[in-house]
Amino acid sequence: MLKIAKTDLPALFQKIAETKDLYLPIRVADQVNFGVYTQDADVSLETLKTVKSPKDAFFPQSETLYTCNKTENKISITPEELQNKEFVVFGIKGCDVKGIEVLDKVFLSEPVDTFYKARRDHGILVALACNEPEESCFCKAFGIDCTDPKADVATWLVEDVLYWNPLTEKGSALTDAVKDLLSDADDSKVKEQQEKTKAIVEKLPYMNLSLEGWNGDVLTEKFDSPLWEELYQPCLACGTCTFVCPTCQCYDIKDYNTGNGVQRYRCWDSCMYSDFTMMAHGNNRNSQMQRFRQRFMHKLVYFPANNNGMYSCVGCGRCVEKCPASLNIVKVVKAFQKEGGDK
């Protein structure tokens, strides 16, 4: 275990930023999101949850795939360059690290998404353990220990010290690059903090949310439940939940005509949008109920069916905090639980 004084963190960031792009939680206009470090950035490591998850470091909200140019009848295609520079995502939480694992299942399965893979190959995750989880958190329900994040480097902010523990080869390489700034430490303070946090976790209302009955084998039973018709009612069909979610991965591919070439880009899309499945001759998910059901069925049934039971939810609680209509996956799970209990 290594350590660095909190007051020396700017020097650490500076050092990392010399050779790599550094993404970390930055406050802009009163909201904290992951952004690129600059010297005058308002870094906020105390923020428990950034509004958006850091998934866009690997799967950006929009990215150009290639550009087409047409001269007379000839088309030429220039693919976008892949990520070829190392970058560091600093301060990512345990739940969001797991979120990236979920994305890996999608983008790194055959056929591999090379754009995503290049970013994964060049990205170094420095995770920060949670000290003060909140009432909207339920990472424990997915087997995540927010006090012991598994990434390239795990860090803990205890009092005025950041403790630093490399866990992978990539993490060790990064540690070597900044070793001048780090000094040896024992882990007693970290252990102490972990125990404290774990005690809090036990007191949080959602942490022990039971996902019993949700798995890849309950497709028809859950799909046909009359509960969906009730649950979806307040849904406004916006994309807030999908866009703040660390695991939602649906995308759209679109063209942008720049006047000197057509850029084909992909951008996040939401299964909640009415035009998501719209085709020239109809829409197979016509009602908001169907779209609402799709999102939760995908996270809790379809995804586990294809990925050895792994849920496509990590309990970060962003949808709990951000849904304009106060709907969320916890309410869905609880509604089914209640229904099951009543029977």
Partner: protein, 146 residues
């Protein structure tokens, strides 16, 4: 006016109503009144056909100034179209000011079919104004800039 090669040549989009201003532009042309070639005219059936999205799209795709020309109030071919356009543009321009887009990048001018001289003068003035404002950097899409 001779231009040297490095001088900034603004791109101007002029929406002209079919009945008055487009005819005014025609008259300017046939009377051999000059106006800068940087002005690209888009003919619209009426000034009220221009919705705010047209104006913003023009800026997005690289225009440095956008001007809307229609019949004089009271002379609209469709009786009242330009009155509605007037309110809309008043509000839109005010909003653009509010967002910090330089005043003067947008303009509305009433030009009749007989006002070839006014058309040419207006365009010359407008191009001059945009030239003094310089390139539009605040309301363009970066993807269109290279």
């Amino acid at each position: 006016m001779p231009l040297n090669e490095n001088e900034f040549r603004p791109k101007i989009v002029a929406f002209c109503c079919n009945w008055c201003s487009y005819a005014g532009a025609d008259l300017a042309g046939s009377s051999r009144l000059s106006y800068p070639a940087d002005v690209k005219i888009i003919k619209v059936p009426c000034s009220c056909r221009v919705n705010p999205m047209f104006i913003l799209r023009a800026f997005e795709k690289g225009a440095d100034g956008v001007i809307l020309c229609g019949c004089h109030p009271g002379d609209c071919h469709y009786s009242t179209g330009n009155y509605y356009a007037r309110r809309r543009m008043t509000l839109l321009f005010s909003m653009l000011d509010y967002l910090g887009i330089e005043k003067g990048r947008t303009r509305v001018e009433w030009v009749s079919a007989a006002e070839g001289v006014k058309f040419s003068q207006t365009m010359n003035e407008f191009v001059e104004k945009i030239r003094s404002l310089g390139e539009n950097v605040r309301l363009g899409d970066l993807r269109c800039k290279n």
